[in-house]
């Protein structure tokens, strides 16, 4: 079961809708109750895709009413007044044609009018006083740089392990040794499943290595792990599989060459992690990935650990950007991996997936969904 933790940005956004109202209510109650009344200074904010226009941009301290209007902005639907990163007032969900107001009592100081998604999102707003500095955290950038470097090294390292693990498998295939090949199948795939989104970025390489029979138009052109899986578990014959084994070795070697020179963006790490979780939910849970060998749970674990690795590399930066989201995702990863433990065998492998009941499959899917939803919010956070 998952812990009672919030689900991150989606939830935070909706909470804001409630909290925003409460905040503006409190401000006017605590201070001059009639912020919106005749004495209030009127400020107009016009939402615009290029940037919000605030008139005037400097007012005396005291009651103020902000009139926010959207005549034609499609990307910008809200305006926030912030101070030191905290929202002090806002109006949102203003699609074109709508307008709204918020009223509050402002002390002297430097504020920011924030219009998310505008070309220029932030503009200074002054209340009878001096400007304050805007700080950018260079530590965040350093942490993100380290994340992408770390991920590149991780991918290279896992593909380095994939090459010999695949050769152990293909050697057994070429030798016609069915039991040895069966034993080597899941361990070899493991390293591939950890970095699959990267492999998918290289065009035909992923289908050549990992296609299922219903992914190919012409079954005679079917290659890769699953072609041999069918020969082993269903046909129970390795006749004709040597060329397939040779091609698999060559494709994996090709992958090794490509990952050595590939660089990543922080958002790719995050989106790749989400893709791995989607892989789990859409093809591992259903049992269609390893339909002959029923080794799906090994792939499942590799997908999750690969995603967790990408996330953990981003975690120091995310901690500075959105600590709550970082902690939510981290806990949900732990939760998913814990839920796999009952299916582990003493030898370190997993039970045959055909023995996992519908209720258990449903539970696993729900765990994965609970992780993937907040995880899908990470990319936007680490994109500057």
């Amino acid at each position: 079961m998952s812990r009672p933790v919030p689900t991150g940005a989606l939830r935070a956004a909706a909470i804001l809708a409630l909290a925003g109202l409460v905040i503006s209510g409190c401000s006017s109650k605590n201070k001059d109750d009639a912020a919106a009344a005749s004495g209030a200074t009127k400020v107009k904010i016009e939402l615009n895709d290029n940037g919000c226009k605030t008139t005037p941009s400097s007012i005396p301290a005291g009651a103020a009413t902000f009139e926010v209007t959207n005549t034609s902005a499609n990307k910008v639907t809200e305006a926030e007044l912030q101070q030191g990163g905290n929202i002090v007032g806002e109006k949102e969900n203003l699609t074109p044609g709508l307008s709204g107001t918020f009223s509050l009592h402002l002390d002297a100081g430097s504020y920011t009018v924030y219009c998310p998604n505008a070309k220029t999102e932030k503009a200074d707003f002054t209340v009878t006083g001096t400007a304050t500095k805007q700080s950018v955290d260079p530590a965040v950038q350093t942490a993100l740089d380290q994340a992408v470097t770390g991920y590149k090294q991780y991918v290279i390292g896992e593909v380095d392990k994939l090459v010999p693990a695949t050769k152990t498998f293909t050697d057994a295939v070429r030798a016609g040794n069915i039991s040895a090949a069966e034993a080597a199948f899941a361990p070899a795939r493991y390293y591939y499943e950890e970095v699959e989104p990267v492999a998918e970025s290289f065009g035909d390489l992923d289908p050549d290595i990992d296609a299922r029979v219903d992914d190919v138009e012409d079954p005679s052109q079917w290659t890769g792990f699953h072609r041999i899986e069918k020969a082993l578990w269903q046909d129970k014959s390795l006749a004709g599989m040597s060329p397939i084994a040779d091609k698999l070795d060559a494709d994996v070697a090709k992958l090794k060459g490509l990952v050595a020179t590939t660089n990543y963006q922080p958002a790719q790490l995050a989106n790749g992690a989400t893709e791995l979780l989607n892989e789990v939910a859409s093809s591992k849970i259903t049992g269609e990935e390893d339909r002959y060998s029923h080794t799906d749970l090994s792939d499942f674990q590799a997908n999750v650990l690969g995603g967790q690795k990408a996330f953990q590399l981003l975690q120091p930066a995310l901690q500075k950007i959105d600590a709550q989201l970082a902690s939510t995702v981290s806990q949900e990863f732990t939760d998913v991996l814990d839920s796999l433990k009952p299916f582990q065998t003493s030898g370190g492998g997993f039970v045959d997936y055909s023995t996992v009941g519908d209720d258990q499959r449903r539970m696993l899917t729900q765990k994965v969904d609970a992780l993937a939803e907040p995880l899908s919010q990470v990319a936007a956070k680490v994109t500057s």
Partner: protein, 419 residues
């Protein structure tokens, strides 16, 4: 029609700005009045905030999307309650926006992030969308420390034979009933609430319904259920405040003040043996209900709204409305004045793969102030004697306490229970 199309485009360009959309289309409908009934766009909105939740007394729109959810939290009762509170704040903000024809609050425009709203109802009118929320008996176990807040009226339903309840279509910690004249708009609600709750709740089961099978207002033409009979002729009219207070809205009598102004929802998935019913002869079908099939009149009358005469006998001395007729057993005259507000929908989920027969029936929904004294009493009588039992079976069940509506912005569902 040309103007209607223009207004549709305007609505799309506004991107869910239903306030503006409603104003535009409303004006158009005014211009159109009398010229063409079909051209009038449906943009009506039902208020979300107020004394009572919408979706009970309000006229039933054509479509239903119903879902129950289970909490998955496993912390301490305090932690779990905090998670539940946060969920209900999030859900309420989203539900209020959707009922107002707006997307789920949040950012739907950042290219590298999934949109806050899933988008399928983008640009659509809410089409009388109502979103009704309730809590099930299981919420009052030890997980949230709420055991002492459980209303006595939320006692688990007893066994009500003949029934064959599927646990996979019964129960749930929370319920959401979304009704709209647009099926996409209704579905959009239960889907987005499930998404907003991921990590805290999972959907337990859900049911789509169509053709509001039960009238709950005198202004509505009485709809027919899938057995072909008018349903709801003698139902409580939701606009009758006196009857609503007497039978439906929880009042001062409750042992739990957080339920004052609320109501109890009973849902029953009632499967119909459609193929068998369709080969029953007309006279027997009419005897089963106690009404004429086409006019809807009681067998003792000639108009739909004629009061049934349960004492009337035919020439052979037999009751004209048989002793086991559905309307006799369900009538308040024969149940000590007990009444419930029914708000059911027809459903079909394709065919039953084992038999090839239609998987269809009535998704019965009823509201009342105390299920122990109302639904349970009525269903005991029906279960024991109703001639209709030969053709139906209760296969799913749910009982929920629906608190009053949040009184205004900033308030949230069940705040007086969990706040």
């Amino acid at each position: 029609m040309t103007e209607f199309r223009a207004s549709r485009r305007g609505l799309l360009a506004l991107g869910g700005a239903a306030v503006a959309g409603a104003a535009t289309s409303g004006a158009l409908a005014g211009c159109d009045s009398g010229s063409s009934k079909t051209a009038a766009p449906v943009v009506a909105k039902v208020p979300f905030y107020g004394a009572h939740q919408a979706g009970i007394a309000t006229p039933a729109p054509a479509r239903l999307a119903f879902a129950t959810y289970d909490l998955t939290v496993d912390g301490s009762p305090q932690e779990n309650l905090a998670a539940l509170r946060q969920l209900l704040q999030t859900w309420t903000a989203a539900a209020a926006a959707m009922a107002d024809g707006k997307p789920v609050p949040g950012d739907s425009n950042t290219l590298v992030a999934p949109p806050a709203d899933t988008g399928e109802a983008y640009g659509s009118s809410p089409a009388n969308l109502t979103i009704t929320f309730g809590v099930g008996p299981s919420l009052f176990d030890g997980r949230f420390g709420l055991a002492s807040r459980r209303p006595a009226a939320l006692a688990d339903l007893p066994m009500l034979p003949p029934e064959n309840l599927d646990p996979a279509r019964s129960g749930g910690d929370l319920v959401v009933q979304a009704c709209s004249d647009d099926p996409v708009v209704a579905f959009h609600v239960i889907r987005n609430l499930a998404r907003l709750g991921r990590g805290t709740v999972v959907m337990r089961w859900s049911q789509l319904g169509f053709g509001n099978a039960t009238s709950n207002g005198a202004s509505q033409e009485t709809p027919r259920n899938l057995l072909g009979f008018k349903d709801g002729t003698r139902n409580i009219d939701g606009s009758d405040a006196q009857l609503m207070n007497q039978h439906v809205w929880v009042g001062d009598e409750t042992d739990q003040q957080w339920m004052r102004g609320g109501s109890y929802l009973v849902a029953r998935r009632i499967a119909m043996h459609i193929e068998a019913w369709d080969r029953d002869y007309l006279a027997d079908q009419q005897h089963v209900f106690g009404r004429f099939k086409y006019t809807g009149a009681p067998l003792t009358g000639s108009n739909e709204r004629d009061t049934p005469n349960f004492a009337a006998k035919d020439a052979s001395g037999q009751p004209v409305i048989p002793v086991n007729a559905h309307i006799r057993l369900a009538a308040h005259e024969n149940n000590g004045g007990i009444r419930i507000l029914r708000r059911g929908y027809s459903y079909t989920d394709g065919i039953i793969s084992a038999s090839g027969e239609l998987d269809a029936g009535l998704f019965f929904i009823a509201f009342q102030k105390d299920p122990r004294k109302q639904f349970v009493t009525l269903q005991r009588g029906l279960g024991a004697h109703d001639a209709l039992n030969e053709y139906i079976q209760h296969v799913g069940s749910g009982l929920f306490a629906c608190p009053p509506a949040p009184s205004g912005q900033g308030r949230y569902w069940a705040q007086d229970l969990v706040g």
